[in-house]
C-alpha cells in the first residue's frame, strides 16, 4: 500500500451529502454574485444610467446650413469621450419644443420658426467626467458657428458626485454581501472541521501532519471555489445576456448584451473566480484553525 496517502478532496470522501448540499448552496450564491458582478461591471455602477441622462446641447447660429452642421456633428462625434453627436435641424427642434410644450403653436405664426438647429452630444459611460465634459464643451465653444453651449456646468459636479456615491454604494453593497457569504463559508468550514475532528485525529495518529491536512483541504477548497465561481458567474452572465436581449430598458441602464463577451469582461470573471478561490482557501484554513483552537 502507498505510504503517502492522498488527502485530495478528503472532505468529499468523508461526507458527500454535507459537501454536496454546501456546494449546491454555494453555486446558487455564485450565480447571483455573477449576475450582480456583471451588471455592475457593464453599467459601471450608476455611470451608464447617468450617461444616458446627460447631454451637452450646442445651439447653432440661425444661418448655419444643414450640411455644415452635420459635418460639425461628425467632427464632435470623433472626439474620444463622445458616444454620439446628432444634429437636429430647426424643424426637428420646433417639433420637439411643441412636444414638450403643447399649445404654443401661435409663436411661429408671428415670424416663422423661432428655434435654431442644435447638436446633441452624449458621452460614453466610462468617460463622463468633469475633465471630459470641459474638453468637449471647450471644443464646441471655440467653433464660431456655435452660438451657445449648454453643458450644465453649474450643477454637473454635484451630478457626477451623486453618481460616484451611487456607484460606491452599489459596489460596497456587493462587497458586503460577498464578505458575508465568505463569513458563512468560514463557519461552514469550521462546522465541518469540528464534525471531522475524529477523522482528522485518526489521520494525525497515523503520521499525517495537521499542516499537510489543512493545506490539502485548503487546496481542495480553492479549486472548488474557483470552479464554482466561474460556473456561477457563467450561469449568471447567461441569465443577464437573455434578460438584456429581452428588456431594452434594462439594456439602456446596464449595457448591450454583446458587452458580456468583451475580453475585459471575461478577464474580470476570471479575476473574480481567482479571488473566490483565494477566499475559499482562506475560509478553509481559518475555519479549520478555529475548530482546532476551539477544541483545546
Amino acid at each position: 500500500m502507498s505510504e503517502t496517502p492522498s488527502l485530495w478532496w478528503i472532505d468529499w470522501r468523508l461526507s458527500r451529502g454535507t459537501l454536496a448540499r454546501e456546494t449546491i448552496w454555494r453555486f446558487l450564491c455564485f450565480c447571483l454574485f455573477g449576475f450582480a458582478l456583471l451588471s455592475l461591471l457593464l453599467s459601471g455602477g450608476a455611470n451608464r444610467f447617468l450617461a444616458d441622462r446627460y447631454a451637452i446641447t450646442a445651439v447653432l447660429q440661425a444661418d448655419v446650413p444643414s450640411a455644415e452642421a452635420e459635418g460639425l456633428a461628425r467632427k464632435v462625434a470623433a472626439l474620444p469621450p463622445v458616444r454620439s453627436a446628432v444634429y437636429r435641424d430647426p424643424e426637428a427642434a420646433w417639433k420637439e419644443f411643441l412636444k414638450a410644450y403643447p399649445g404654443l403653436e401661435p409663436l411661429r405664426a408671428a415670424g416663422g420658426n423661432p428655434l435654431p438647429g442644435y447638436i446633441e452630444v452624449r458621452f460614453r459611460h466610462d468617460r463622463l467626467t468633469e475633465g471630459d465634459v470641459d474638453l468637449v464643451a471647450s471644443a464646441l465653444r471655440s467653433v464660431s458657428r456655435v452660438d451657445q453651449v449648454l453643458a450644465g456646468e453649474e450643477w454637473l459636479p454635484r451630478f457626477l458626485r451623486a453618481g460616484r456615491y451611487a456607484s460606491w454604494a452599489c459596489w460596497g453593497l456587493f462587497g458586503a454581501i460577498l464578505a458575508g457569504f465568505f463569513l458563512v463559508g468560514r463557519l461552514q468550514e469550521r462546522g465541518r472541521a469540528v464534525a471531522f475532528a475524529g477523522d482528522f485525529s485518526f489521520l494525525a495518529e497515523r503520521g499525517i501532519p495537521a499542516g499537510r491536512l489543512a493545506l490539502s483541504r485548503a487546496a481542495g477548497a480553492a479549486v472548488s471555489g474557483f470552479l464554482l465561481a466561474a460556473a456561477g458567474a457563467a450561469a449568471g452572465g447567461g441569465a443577464l445576456f437573455l434578460l438584456l436581449g429581452k428588456l431594452p430598458l434594462l439594456a439602456r441602464m446596464i449595457g448591450p448584451p454583446s458587452d458580456l463577451l468583451l475580453p475585459r469582461t471575461v478577464a474580470s470573471v476570471v479575476l473574480f473566480s481567482c479571488c473566490a478561490a483565494l477566499l475559499s482557501a482562506a475560509s478553509s484554513l481559518l475555519g479549520g484553525r478555529a475548530a482546532r483552537s476551539g477544541r483545546k
Partner: protein, 229 residues
C-alpha cells in the same frame, strides 16, 4: 525491528519509569503485560511515535523515530495499525465509516474492492455483516474486534493493540491468537499491551522478560503443535 533505549517518562511530578530497554523483532507477536496505571498505553504511544519520551529514544529499522528523518517517522506511523483501549464512541459513525476512515490512510484499496474486503475481515473477527451497524450500539468486544478489522484493512506492517485481548473476551482469544500468529508469519510485527496474559498464551510463551514494571512475552509463531502452517 523496533528498539527502545533507556526510555523514561516523568508524569505528575514523579518518575513513572526510567531506563527501560525494549527490542521487538520483526515477524513476531509480542505481549507487554503490566499492572493498571503502569504506563502500557503510554509505552505503545511512544513506540508508535505518537508521543515523545522524556528520556531515551525509539529506533525503527536503525532510524531514530524522534531525532531522525521526519519523513521516515511519518512513513513508519502511516505503516502502523492501532487498536486503542478507548474505542470510538462517536454516535454518528457506523462500521462502514470506520473502514472509509481507515482507507484514507492507505490508498491501495479500490472502492470496488473495499466492501468485499471489509466484509471478509468483519466475518473473520466474528462480526459478519456489521457494515451498517452503529458503533454506539455495539458491545465493547464487538467494537474492539471491528476496530481491529478496520486496522487490518490497510495491511499495517506493525500492529499495536491496547487491551484488545481482554476487551474481546474469552470466546475470541483463540481467534485472536491465530490471527496474530498469521500476521507474524507474514512478516508483520504485533505488539499487544495487556494487564494479564491468558494462561495458555503464557504457557506457550515461557516466563517472559521483566522490563521495569512490565513483563514482555514473545508469542510463538508456530501453532501449539509446533506447525508453522
Amino acid at each position: 525491528m523496533i528498539e527502545a533505549f533507556r526510555l523514561g517518562v516523568f508524569s505528575r511530578g514523579a518518575t513513572l519509569w526510567d531506563g527501560l530497554d525494549f527490542a521487538f523483532g520483526d515477524a513476531a507477536a509480542w505481549v507487554v503485560v503490566g499492572p493498571p496505571s503502569s504506563g502500557k498505553t503510554l509505552l505503545l504511544s511512544i513506540l508508535r511515535g505518537d508521543r515523545r519520551p522524556d528520556a531515551g529514544d525509539v529506533v525503527v529499522s536503525g532510524e531514530s523515530l524522534f531525532r531522525g528523518n521526519a519523513a521516515l517517522a511519518r512513513s513508519y506511523r502511516a505503516s502502523c495499525g492501532h487498536v486503542p483501549e478507548q474505542t470510538v464512541t462517536d454516535a454518528r459513525l457506523t462500521v462502514g465509516d470506520l473502514f472509509r476512515r481507515s482507507a484514507l490512510v492507505g490508498f491501495g484499496v479500490r472502492e470496488s474492492e473495499r466492501k468485499d474486503r471489509s466484509d471478509r475481515l468483519l466475518a473473520m473477527v466474528g462480526v459478519p455483516g456489521a457494515w451498517e451497524w452503529r458503533i454506539v450500539e455495539m458491545s465493547t468486544s464487538e467494537r474492539v474486534r471491528t476496530c481491529l478489522a478496520t486496522e487490518l484493512f490497510r495491511g499495517p506492517k506493525v500492529l499495536f493493540c491496547d487491551g484488545a485481548v481482554a476487551a474481546a473476551g474469552m470466546p475470541y482469544r483463540e481467534m485472536l491468537w491465530g490471527l496474530f500468529r498469521a500476521l507474524a508469519r507474514e512478516g508483520n510485527t504485533v505488539v499487544l499491551a495487556e494487564r494479564t496474559i491468558p494462561e495458555d498464551w503464557a504457557v506457550a510463551s515461557g516466563a517472559g522478560l521483566p522490563v521495569g514494571p512490565f513483563r514482555v512475552y514473545r508469542l510463538p509463531v508456530s501453532d501449539s503443535k509446533g506447525n508453522l502452517g
